[in-house]
Protein backbone atom coordinates (compact mmCIF):
# COMPACT_ATOMS: atom_id res chain seq x y z
CA UNK A 1 0.00 0.00 0.00
CA UNK A 2 1.28 3.46 -0.85
CA UNK A 3 0.24 6.74 0.73
CA UNK A 4 1.16 9.90 -1.15
CA UNK A 5 0.95 13.39 0.26
CA UNK A 6 0.71 16.01 -2.50
CA UNK A 7 1.93 19.42 -1.43
CA UNK A 8 3.33 22.73 -2.65
CA UNK A 9 6.58 24.23 -1.45
CA UNK A 10 6.16 26.46 1.57
CA UNK A 11 2.98 24.69 2.72
CA UNK A 12 3.00 25.33 6.45
CA UNK A 13 0.00 23.08 7.07
CA UNK A 14 1.76 20.17 5.37
CA UNK A 15 4.96 20.58 7.34
CA UNK A 16 3.02 20.71 10.60
CA UNK A 17 0.85 17.68 9.86
CA UNK A 18 3.32 15.48 7.95
CA UNK A 19 5.00 13.69 10.84
CA UNK A 20 1.73 12.85 12.60
CA UNK A 21 0.13 11.61 9.39
CA UNK A 22 3.12 9.50 8.50
CA UNK A 23 3.17 7.98 11.98
CA UNK A 24 -0.57 7.25 11.79
CA UNK A 25 -0.11 5.57 8.41
CA UNK A 26 2.73 3.38 9.67
CA UNK A 27 0.75 2.40 12.78
CA UNK A 28 -2.41 1.53 10.83
CA UNK A 29 -0.79 -0.22 7.92
CA UNK A 30 2.63 -1.62 8.85
CA UNK A 31 4.90 -1.69 5.83
CA UNK A 32 3.03 1.13 4.14
CA UNK A 33 5.05 3.13 1.67
CA UNK A 34 4.95 6.87 2.38
CA UNK A 35 5.80 9.37 -0.35
CA UNK A 36 5.74 13.14 -0.40
CA UNK A 37 5.01 14.55 -3.84
CA UNK A 38 5.75 18.10 -4.88
CA UNK A 39 2.72 18.68 -7.12
CA UNK A 40 4.49 21.22 -9.27
CA UNK A 41 7.50 18.99 -9.92
CA UNK A 42 5.28 16.00 -10.70
CA UNK A 43 2.46 17.90 -12.33
CA UNK A 44 1.54 15.26 -14.91
CA UNK A 45 1.34 12.59 -12.24
CA UNK A 46 -0.81 14.83 -10.01
CA UNK A 47 -3.15 15.56 -12.94
CA UNK A 48 -3.29 11.86 -13.82
CA UNK A 49 -4.49 11.07 -10.31
CA UNK A 50 -7.01 13.92 -10.40
CA UNK A 51 -5.42 16.16 -7.79
CA UNK A 52 -7.16 19.56 -8.02
CA UNK A 53 -6.58 21.04 -4.57
CA UNK A 54 -3.56 21.10 -2.30
CA UNK A 55 -2.55 19.62 0.00
CA UNK A 56 -4.19 16.30 -0.87
CA UNK A 57 -3.62 12.70 0.03
CA UNK A 58 -3.86 9.64 -2.19
CA UNK A 59 -3.91 5.99 -1.18
CA UNK A 60 -2.84 3.50 -3.82
CA UNK A 61 -3.04 6.21 -6.49
CA UNK A 62 -6.61 7.14 -5.59
CA UNK A 63 -7.34 10.61 -4.21
CA UNK A 64 -8.95 9.86 -0.87
CA UNK A 65 -8.57 13.24 0.82
CA UNK A 66 -8.83 16.50 -1.14
CA UNK A 67 -7.57 18.33 1.93
CA UNK A 68 -5.40 17.22 4.83
CA UNK A 69 -7.10 14.58 6.98
CA UNK A 70 -6.55 14.21 10.68
CA UNK A 71 -4.33 11.28 11.69
CA UNK A 72 -7.47 9.49 12.92
CA UNK A 73 -9.23 9.95 9.57
CA UNK A 74 -6.21 8.62 7.71
CA UNK A 75 -5.91 5.64 10.06
CA UNK A 76 -9.60 4.83 9.53
CA UNK A 77 -9.29 5.05 5.73
CA UNK A 78 -6.25 2.75 5.76
CA UNK A 79 -7.91 0.23 8.07
CA UNK A 80 -10.99 0.11 5.83
CA UNK A 81 -8.79 -0.60 2.84
CA UNK A 82 -6.94 -3.33 4.67
CA UNK A 83 -10.25 -4.97 5.62
CA UNK A 84 -11.50 -4.89 2.03
CA UNK A 85 -8.18 -5.89 0.49
CA UNK A 86 -6.68 -8.37 2.98
CA UNK A 87 -4.14 -9.64 0.48
CA UNK A 88 -3.14 -6.24 -0.77
CA UNK A 89 0.55 -5.96 -1.48
CA UNK A 90 1.24 -9.71 -1.39
Amino acid sequence: MIVELFFTEGCRKCAAARDELKAAAERSAPGVSWREVNALKELDYAVELGILTLPALAIDKEVVFASLPTPAQLAKALQQRLEHEPFHGH
Binding site: T8, C11, A39, L43, E48
Partner: protein, 182 residues
Protein backbone atom coordinates in the same frame (compact mmCIF):
# COMPACT_ATOMS: atom_id res chain seq x y z
CA UNK B 1 -18.46 84.33 1.27
CA UNK B 2 -15.43 85.44 3.21
CA UNK B 3 -13.82 82.41 4.77
CA UNK B 4 -11.89 83.95 7.62
CA UNK B 5 -11.44 80.71 9.53
CA UNK B 6 -11.76 77.07 8.53
CA UNK B 7 -12.03 74.31 11.10
CA UNK B 8 -11.74 70.66 10.07
CA UNK B 9 -14.27 68.48 11.86
CA UNK B 10 -13.22 65.16 10.39
CA UNK B 11 -15.12 62.62 8.34
CA UNK B 12 -18.57 63.47 7.15
CA UNK B 13 -19.91 60.05 8.00
CA UNK B 14 -23.36 61.35 8.86
CA UNK B 15 -23.67 62.42 5.25
CA UNK B 16 -22.71 58.88 4.20
CA UNK B 17 -19.46 60.20 2.79
CA UNK B 18 -16.74 58.80 5.03
CA UNK B 19 -13.99 59.73 2.57
CA UNK B 20 -15.03 63.39 2.55
CA UNK B 21 -14.09 65.89 5.22
CA UNK B 22 -16.58 68.12 6.96
CA UNK B 23 -15.39 71.67 7.40
CA UNK B 24 -16.91 74.50 9.37
CA UNK B 25 -16.30 77.78 7.65
CA UNK B 26 -16.62 80.93 9.75
CA UNK B 27 -17.34 84.24 8.10
CA UNK B 28 -16.45 87.17 10.35
CA UNK B 29 -18.08 89.76 8.12
CA UNK B 30 -20.68 92.29 9.29
CA UNK B 31 -23.47 89.76 8.83
CA UNK B 32 -21.48 86.90 10.24
CA UNK B 33 -22.56 83.39 9.19
CA UNK B 34 -21.37 79.84 9.75
CA UNK B 35 -21.20 77.50 6.78
CA UNK B 36 -20.68 73.75 6.78
CA UNK B 37 -19.02 72.35 3.74
CA UNK B 38 -18.09 68.94 2.51
CA UNK B 39 -14.86 69.36 0.67
CA UNK B 40 -11.80 67.98 -0.90
CA UNK B 41 -11.44 64.21 -1.02
CA UNK B 42 -14.71 63.71 -2.81
CA UNK B 43 -13.34 65.65 -5.74
CA UNK B 44 -10.68 62.95 -6.22
CA UNK B 45 -13.23 60.14 -6.16
CA UNK B 46 -14.42 58.44 -9.31
CA UNK B 47 -17.97 57.97 -10.48
CA UNK B 48 -18.93 54.55 -11.83
CA UNK B 49 -18.69 55.85 -15.40
CA UNK B 50 -15.23 57.32 -14.92
CA UNK B 51 -13.92 54.23 -13.19
CA UNK B 52 -15.37 51.97 -15.89
CA UNK B 53 -13.68 54.09 -18.56
CA UNK B 54 -10.30 54.04 -16.79
CA UNK B 55 -10.48 50.29 -16.14
CA UNK B 56 -11.84 49.61 -19.64
CA UNK B 57 -14.82 47.59 -18.51
CA UNK B 58 -18.55 48.20 -18.70
CA UNK B 59 -20.51 49.71 -15.84
CA UNK B 60 -22.55 46.49 -15.79
CA UNK B 61 -19.35 44.50 -15.16
CA UNK B 62 -18.42 46.91 -12.41
CA UNK B 63 -21.82 46.48 -10.73
CA UNK B 64 -21.43 42.71 -11.11
CA UNK B 65 -18.02 42.82 -9.42
CA UNK B 66 -19.65 44.83 -6.66
CA UNK B 67 -22.43 42.26 -6.22
CA UNK B 68 -19.74 39.55 -6.03
CA UNK B 69 -17.98 41.49 -3.28
CA UNK B 70 -14.84 42.23 -5.31
CA UNK B 71 -15.17 46.00 -5.48
CA UNK B 72 -17.09 48.38 -3.33
CA UNK B 73 -17.67 52.12 -3.53
CA UNK B 74 -15.88 54.20 -0.93
CA UNK B 75 -18.96 56.34 -0.48
CA UNK B 76 -22.19 57.54 -1.98
CA UNK B 77 -23.17 61.04 -2.94
CA UNK B 78 -26.23 62.54 -1.29
CA UNK B 79 -28.12 61.59 -4.43
CA UNK B 80 -27.01 57.98 -3.97
CA UNK B 81 -24.44 57.77 -6.76
CA UNK B 82 -21.49 55.48 -6.16
CA UNK B 83 -18.08 57.05 -5.64
CA UNK B 84 -14.95 54.93 -5.87
CA UNK B 85 -11.49 55.53 -4.50
CA UNK B 86 -8.54 56.00 -6.81
CA UNK B 87 -7.20 52.55 -5.89
CA UNK B 88 -10.31 50.90 -7.37
CA UNK B 89 -8.91 51.06 -10.92
CA UNK B 90 -5.82 49.16 -9.79
CA UNK B 91 -8.04 46.62 -8.04
CA UNK B 92 -10.02 46.06 -11.23
CA UNK B 93 -6.80 45.53 -13.21
CA UNK B 94 -5.87 42.89 -10.64
CA UNK B 95 -9.27 41.20 -11.12
CA UNK B 96 -8.95 41.27 -14.91
CA UNK B 97 -5.44 39.79 -14.85
CA UNK B 98 -6.53 37.06 -12.46
CA UNK B 99 -9.52 36.24 -14.69
CA UNK B 100 -7.17 36.01 -17.67
CA UNK B 101 -5.15 33.43 -15.70
CA UNK B 102 -8.29 31.35 -15.23
CA UNK B 103 -9.23 32.27 -11.68
CA UNK B 104 -12.94 32.34 -10.92
CA UNK B 105 -14.47 35.34 -9.17
CA UNK B 106 -14.70 33.35 -5.92
CA UNK B 107 -10.99 32.53 -6.19
CA UNK B 108 -10.17 36.14 -7.00
CA UNK B 109 -12.04 37.18 -3.86
CA UNK B 110 -9.82 34.79 -1.93
CA UNK B 111 -6.70 36.28 -3.55
CA UNK B 112 -7.86 39.80 -2.72
CA UNK B 113 -8.52 38.77 0.87
CA UNK B 114 -5.05 37.23 1.09
CA UNK B 115 -3.58 40.45 -0.29
CA UNK B 116 -5.19 42.40 2.52
CA UNK B 117 -4.51 39.83 5.20
CA UNK B 118 -1.43 40.79 7.16
CA UNK B 119 -0.74 37.25 8.42
CA UNK B 120 -0.95 35.65 4.95
CA UNK B 121 2.25 34.96 3.07
CA UNK B 122 3.30 34.36 -0.50
CA UNK B 123 3.11 30.58 -0.16
CA UNK B 124 -0.68 30.89 0.37
CA UNK B 125 -0.96 32.69 -2.95
CA UNK B 126 1.44 30.22 -4.57
CA UNK B 127 -0.73 27.31 -3.45
CA UNK B 128 -3.76 28.86 -5.17
CA UNK B 129 -1.71 29.39 -8.33
CA UNK B 130 -0.49 25.77 -8.34
CA UNK B 131 -4.07 24.54 -7.75
CA UNK B 132 -5.23 26.63 -10.69
CA UNK B 133 -2.48 25.17 -12.85
CA UNK B 134 -3.55 21.64 -11.85
CA UNK B 135 -7.16 22.46 -12.78
CA UNK B 136 -6.12 23.92 -16.14
CA UNK B 137 -3.89 20.93 -16.90
CA UNK B 138 -6.75 18.57 -16.01
CA UNK B 139 -9.02 20.47 -18.38
CA UNK B 140 -6.38 20.32 -21.14
CA UNK B 141 -6.10 16.56 -20.58
CA UNK B 142 -9.89 16.18 -20.87
CA UNK B 143 -9.94 18.31 -24.02
CA UNK B 144 -7.15 16.23 -25.57
CA UNK B 145 -9.14 13.08 -24.85
CA UNK B 146 -12.16 14.64 -26.57
CA UNK B 147 -10.00 15.69 -29.49
CA UNK B 148 -8.62 12.15 -29.88
CA UNK B 149 -12.16 10.72 -29.79
CA UNK B 150 -13.11 13.13 -32.56
CA UNK B 151 -10.01 12.13 -34.56
CA UNK B 152 -11.15 8.49 -34.52
CA UNK B 153 -14.68 9.42 -35.57
CA UNK B 154 -13.44 11.72 -38.34
CA UNK B 155 -11.07 9.09 -39.72
CA UNK B 156 -13.91 6.55 -39.73
CA UNK B 157 -16.08 8.86 -41.81
CA UNK B 158 -15.52 8.70 -45.55
CA UNK B 159 -17.01 12.18 -45.87
CA UNK B 160 -18.52 11.47 -49.26
CA UNK B 161 -22.12 11.58 -50.37
CA UNK B 162 -23.37 8.57 -48.42
CA UNK B 163 -26.77 9.09 -46.75
CA UNK B 164 -26.74 10.67 -43.33
CA UNK B 165 -28.33 7.52 -41.93
CA UNK B 166 -25.07 5.72 -42.61
CA UNK B 167 -22.81 8.43 -41.25
CA UNK B 168 -20.08 6.84 -39.14
CA UNK B 169 -19.80 9.88 -36.84
CA UNK B 170 -23.50 9.87 -35.99
CA UNK B 171 -23.36 6.11 -35.51
CA UNK B 172 -20.38 6.44 -33.16
CA UNK B 173 -22.19 9.09 -31.16
CA UNK B 174 -25.29 6.88 -30.98
CA UNK B 175 -23.14 4.02 -29.68
CA UNK B 176 -21.48 6.29 -27.14
CA UNK B 177 -24.92 7.42 -25.98
CA UNK B 178 -26.04 3.83 -25.49
CA UNK B 179 -22.94 3.11 -23.45
CA UNK B 180 -20.91 1.28 -26.08
CA UNK B 181 -17.39 2.34 -26.84
CA UNK B 182 -17.00 4.24 -30.14
Amino acid sequence: MLADSVVDYGSATHLNMPEARLKIVLDFGVHSKVYTMVLAEQARMLTIGKLAAIAEISTDSLRYYEREGLVRPASLTRAGYRLYGEDSAQRIQFIKHAQACGFTLAEIRELLELREHTTACCSDVRRLAVEKKLQIEARIKALKTMSKALDIMISNCAGDAIPVGECAILAALEEAKSGKKP
